[in-house]
Subunit: 306 residues, 2 copies
Amino acid sequence: MTVYAFGHKNPDSDTVCAAISLAYLKNKLGVETTAVTQGAISPETSFILDRYGLAIPEVKNSFAGESVFLVDTSDISQLPDDLSDAEVLGIVDHHKLGDVTTSNPLECWIWPVGCSCTILKAMYDFYNIEVPKEIAGIMLCAILSDTVIFKSATCTDKDKEFAVELARIAEEKDLQALGMEMFKVKSAIQGTPIRELVERDYKDFDMNGNKVGIGQLEVVDLSLLDEIKDALASDIIALKKVGDRHSVFLMLTDIMKEGTELLIASDDPSIVEKAFGCAPAGNKVWLDGVMSRKKQVVPNLEKAFA
Amino acid sequence: MTVYAFGHKNPDSDTVCAAISLAYLKNKLGVETTAVTQGAISPETSFILDRYGLAIPEVKNSFAGESVFLVDTSDISQLPDDLSDAEVLGIVDHHKLGDVTTSNPLECWIWPVGCSCTILKAMYDFYNIEVPKEIAGIMLCAILSDTVIFKSATCTDKDKEFAVELARIAEEKDLQALGMEMFKVKSAIQGTPIRELVERDYKDFDMNGNKVGIGQLEVVDLSLLDEIKDALASDIIALKKVGDRHSVFLMLTDIMKEGTELLIASDDPSIVEKAFGCAPAGNKVWLDGVMSRKKQVVPNLEKAFA
């Protein structure tokens, strides 16, 4: 019986690439493991898998009675509903420690680095397993994506060091160009329904008993979103209502200007000033230097809600 | 301001030695860190620190406003009451994943091996920090203690491999003799109050809403306990009452015969047969081959209580 490796809902590139890379490693170590996702992959992830000739993992949402490895999250709210009926064998993650618990000892590699795939590279080294070219390619792209080409506040020296090693194996010469090509795919919005854009990289959090949703769109130039900004603002109001949420925030992150315009739909918009120290103008606010949901937005909002 | 490294209540040798070893490593990496304990150390730990000339860490029970590393547990019930007012920077552990959560990314090394100090050895290797002789000695002893000289069901190849490396650094030639010397110290019970023996290595667990205490005494020969067994049995009945517990179990583990006599004080003694498949005779039962609370006793009891 195979073990399954997967990450959070609304899979991003790191979640998908980490699941595939962990499955490859575990198979090499004699544990039959299959990478799956909890939902359809993004255009960026599709670009990455296509570039290195890897298949898209199947979608699987139920794991009762199965054994699983989790990647890129340890939050129950971001995992399948029946996870408590599965045996969690391990977690590879670079976020805060969530509320998953287990009955048995397990293998957790959770480090404060920019990307789960950076930790995966350390695991390959630890177990002395060679990283094949195509796996090195997707791990590298995941690092470039999660660290916004090494610019995010979450990026560490380990991310850079391992990215360079992976680039050598993957025979990628120009990381800046590869990253920009990827972010152009990510920035592409033509023909995509508004709700799909809002939910492309979206997560719900429990903040002191309040349900708070935070989405993020990263673009190479914020002006790309000018025409649809009003529609996005309306849509997060709708999303807040249907989910009985206290707030929904949408981060419009400009990876070149290195900042975020935060769109706000909230029962109490003053929470934004409390969290970030700058007052919203209408339903939005510019947060200079803010690029990371995990390191810059979630902790500040959690403190403001506390 | 220093960071504190510490482990669970009723500190055993692994908790104390892992805290000291982690503090040394973090200091080398530029993070000022102080090892402390949550309570007095055991005679075995005292023997270990004395052998390698290391000081006994201070006792500290309150950490509000401090930054901390946890070792050897991630269960809130085994940690200080005000832990939620501290910032958890990392966890090094080899148990099931407990209910500690954080607001920020952190560094977790949690592996299914026999001893936290085995993981510490891997961390020294990862960070390329040389293990000094005295630290190698206490890490080695912690491994010998937690794995019952490599005999416990929790012992893995990594524990053995790293113990041999540490023994070389510590210049320890005969691990079996060192282990037996340590376990003789651990077995010494003369003059020790009964309650102190019961609580020497004791942990409370929440099993499906029931408070269940499990203590363990490891001895080189069960007959050493003949004279005090009745007193131990009476004392766990008293301990069950004062703490409003569903059950208190005391494992009397014979490390040479490789099995455990389980003393039972329970609102529902039939839970023992449900968990282990053998019926107690009176208030006790012999569990052949059972030496590990974590791997053999806790999971079976949790299933029986589920």
